[in-house]
Symmetry: C2
């Protein structure tokens, strides 16, 4: 169904000039479907069954039950096991798994995200952070949904700063058990899918304390309900109630009052506790250990980037279809004018379509990178770091773009856009939370910005004091020039005017790339120079960093746009059909994107 | 309740420097409450009663019934009669009526808009377009809600271009009746509040045809239900079902199958039909006649401007309160940092607060203008035109600002912002439609743009051909200079850098005003010059206009921002407390607004 989202009408438009390029729609569509196009097509075929569709009139409670039943349907369709080990019936196909999962957004984002909770978060925590014994014991039940589970990381008091969660897991060598405990209200686990109703177990992140030492946050498998379906002693549940969207998911809170679990329920891939309470880990630094664990869960961000991009495509498909049929106000010829012929309407929709193309192409590269790391083919610490930086750069841009695009699509359809049955408002409401969950967008972009600053600083590593002094002088001169020199910017933009004109005749990649890359470099260099003023004064350093925080986030956004531009350009090159390559939405992207 | 939306904490913040201005919160609040502050306070007091609150868990059907019962409560509280004639118990207080009505948005936007349908649209159509007989017959029932009614203007096929509606009202001199008829599906009345369930009558806009001549769109009072509560013969109703928001309102469709109404049900203030079918009107041009009728209904746009501005204030109140309490990540001192201390967080919220102040001040001036016109004190055709242009400039900016602000506030509260009980997502969903109803924002801004072009052209009226030729030469030179001269822009911005620095020390109004006004002038002049190329070629003219449509809308937006800036500056001047005047959110607005 979304397949068609990017497919222009195949009916020839009589208004088109004879010289307009003939677009090979099937070939363009293949390019957009990307590396795992077969899995995407399979998923789209599956969700043609109305059993997977959202029923808009359902209240929260009925919607939740419907989505749970749809999860069972996914199991029946073998649609959610691709990432799991072959010995449990999986395919160990990480990229394909994410591609298929993303497509569920078109059926109902609640279905997508509840699947993500079960198999992407709860299941992945066991798979990625646990070891063979855990896999044998729980993965079959996770996969067939006989163990619905919650992923209990976020707390009321800590969302972005999850290293600071308050839940404790204190080891008791007497009984060889961990005692999971919520010491204060702010440490209650919050916003967890499957927590309000359906979860019978949870992967709980807690401060591991043994022999009086806190070894930082680790993940534990905690049963919530007994065989009788009743919550186990010490387990507290609360329902989050109505949300702005995703009301097919039973989000809620979990608390633990001295809940005892066996020592072996620690998911011990990155750190373990011996029966006597001795802690061991291959990673010495608690901070690095925790971020290594978190890194194994990056797939959530990967999948949101793809799902958001395809949701944008779906929204544009709806709005552009409407715009090519709806007419309003008489034109010069006395006929009512089709909306798509209005200059403003084109400017509202087409640049967003071009950006969506760019994001879809960028996402496919991202997914290839992810697949390389998680299959082990290209899995070095550098690869992992690059993957996380890529996730932190792309997920914010595509999720914000989805909200912006769905809103513009809604407005472009007027009152019809506001009717729930036309899907735009529901999609937007559901996707709203994508911009702050699995990493708040601004916090993620700040991570990217810090990486950009680090890379920038590496240029000066090993330089002696004299070189640094020369650099400082150069920067001052540069800064003066820059400060006085909006003329310089003016000149650049004037030059760009000529570039823009040449864009009409064909892509002038070099200039475009230079401008976009130069923008990122200049932004980072300016910030680095301002931060340098702090020297070794940590308090001043923190203040200066804070003063430059908004600019750093903008630099990261510019970096993400550059990545998208590069992926887009690569995709145009890969297009082996000369006519299709000239499709306006491909050829003129940069110009329109930056309107 | 919203009263507090703009009230900073009165607890002294120890981090504040001793030189920070002491803000007289009560005085600032009075300034924001504006001319009809007493009515606003009265309304806010009334909606402290939880009977007026939204119950989030209610499904659509229960929500609709609750809002209907709340409308009866408003009647009991004498809260909705201020604009009606004194002889029916009203106050003929147009400004106060709108002010009080706007405040309902804080209780539940569905309550605000359903009230608006009943008393602001349906009731106003009878009041403004009808004459004494109509007033005597129906206004008492409209006011006490014994006649709930729909305002039937928009059709499936025509929303923005309402002059082209398809519904017909054909006069039959035999029976002295009009026959109201829906000739095709696209002419079905659509999106009407009170149409699905509660309306027992409607003011219907239809093409008035008598003696075979179409005299254009007029408004008719059409009963929908008989005494028995059953729909009258020929009346068709459909339910619009679930919407993206405002689900407390029973929007629906109305169709008419040869429905006969008495001749005297024509609301005949601007045009009448004699028993023999002779048409008469004091306004000859059907176009001008229709727009005169529409003009009497401008108050919808007026009230949306105010309601959207106060909804922004409410959203910011919630987000800023959260930001001053929520902490995340350790700071330099080892304490967790309060969100409001992050540079990025300040940049997210404070410029939007300043813009909201500007919109509230601009709205009060707008409301004074509206009150002057509708009270008859300052009611000339020019006043009416100015009022409509003002409405078309301000309503788009404040309604879009509300969506942007409520979304940013939601994101700034993270997951908590997504919980329905914290109000941000519900407010945003309800206000979504404000940007396209009562005039689509882009269509309204285009009206403003056309007015700007007309005013610009007036400069050259009466000039002879030689003067025009000189002008054309000058423009070409100017254009060349402008084209080559992003240097000129660079210079202006460099100068602005100095202005910005002086802003730190105090407002430099002249430069700010010159920059903002110059921006509008330059944009309009550029567009006018490009349009001039068409000469008398109408087809080329239409094409050029369309090519410049997006820029014209941007020029109108710039004009609206200038109006807001002026209102804001006037308000700062009117502040007679020197310390309060220095409140950063007042003093530094321009700088922050244009980040």
């Amino acid at each position: 169904m979304v397949d068609a989202a990017v497919r222009p009408s195949t009916t020839p438009d009589p208004r088109e000039s004879a010289t307009a390029p003939r677009i090979d729609v099937a070939r363009l569509n293949d390019a957009l479907m990307g590396t795992w196009g077969d899995v995407r097509r399979q998923a789209r075929e599956m969700i043609k069954d109305s059993a997977f569709w959202r029923k808009d009139e359902l209240g929260k409670d009925d919607h939740r039950e419907r989505v749970l039943s749809q999860l069972h349907l996914l199991v029946d369709n073998k649609a959610v096991h691709r990432a799991f080990p072959k010995r449990f019936g999986g395919e160990e196909n990480n990229g394909g798994n994410i591609a298929g999962f993303e497509e569920l957004v078109a059926a109902d984002p609640s279905l997508q995200i509840k699947s993500g909770v079960q198999w992407g978060l709860f299941g992945s925590a066991i798979l990625q952070l646990g070891t063979k014994e855990h896999h044998d014991k729980w993965l079959p039940g996770v996969m067939d949904l006989s163990i619905p589970g919650a992923f209990a990381m976020t707390e009321i008091g800590h969302g972005s700063d999850v290293a600071a969660v308050g839940t404790t897991a204190t080891y008791d060598p007497e009984t060889e058990e961990f005692i999971i405990h919520t010491p204060f209200r702010g440490a209650v686990k919050e916003y967890l899918g499957n927590a309000a109703l359906h979860g019978i177990a949870a992967t709980v992140f807690a401060q591991l304390i043994t022999n009086g030492v806190n070894h930082g946050v680790h993940c534990f498998y905690v049963p919530l309900r007994g065989e009788d379906g009743v919550d186990l002693p010490g387990i507290g549940r609360e329902d989050d109630g109505l949300k702005g969207g995703l009301n097919g998911i039973d989000n809620g809170r979990l608390s633990f009052d001295q809940v005892r679990i066996p020592r072996t329920n620690l998911l011990n891939r990155y750190g373990d506790v011996a029966p006597d309470g001795t802690y061991s880990s291959a990673i010495d630094s608690p901070g690095r250990r925790f971020f290594t664990m978190l890194g194994t869960l990056v797939q959530g961000r990967v999948s949101l980037d793809g799902a958001a991009s395809w949701a944008s495509a779906l929204g544009l498909h709806i709005a552009i279809t409407y715009a090519t049929q709806r007419r309003q106000f008489d034109g010069a010829d006395g006929q009512e004018v089709v909306l798509m012929d209005y200059g403003k309407h084109q400017r509202r929709l087409l640049p967003r379509l071009a950006t969506t193309y760019a994001q879809i192409f960028a996402h496919d590269e991202f997914l290839q990178k992810f697949d390389g790391v998680f299959s082990g083919r290209t899995d070095t610490p550098d690869d992992r770091e690059d993957l996380e930086t890529l996730a932190a750069a792309l997920k914010p841009l595509s999720t914000w773009h989805a909200l912006d695009t769905l809103q513009e699509a809604r407005e472009a359809c007027g009152g019809a856009g506001f009717m729930f049955e036309n899907r735009l408002v529901g999609l937007r409401a559901d996707l709203d939370i994508y911009v702050t969950f699995e990493g708040d967008n601004n916090v993620l972009l700040q991570l990217v910005g810090k990486r950009l600053l680090t890379d920038y600083a590496k240029q000066f590593q090993g330089k002696d004091a004299a070189a640094l002094a020369r650099y400082a002088v150069g920067m001052t001169a540069g800064k003066l020039f820059h400060g006085a020199g909006l003329r310089q910017l003016g000149q650049a933009v004037t030059d760009f005017g000529q570039v823009a004109r040449s864009v009409e005749r064909g892509l002038r990649e070099e200039q475009q790339h230079d401008l976009l890359a130069g923008r990122v470099q200049q932004m980072v260099a300016d910030i680095a120079t301002r931060l340098r003023a702090a020297g070794k004064d940590k308090v001043l350093g923190a203040r200066l960093f804070n003063e430059n925080q908004a600019e750093l986030i903008e630099a990261a956004r510019a970096h993400g746009e550059l990545l998208q531009w590069e992926a887009f350009t690569d995709a145009v090159h890969a297009m082996d059909d000369a006519e299709t390559k000239k499709a306006p939405v491909l050829e003129k992207t940069l110009k329109r994107q930056k309107r």
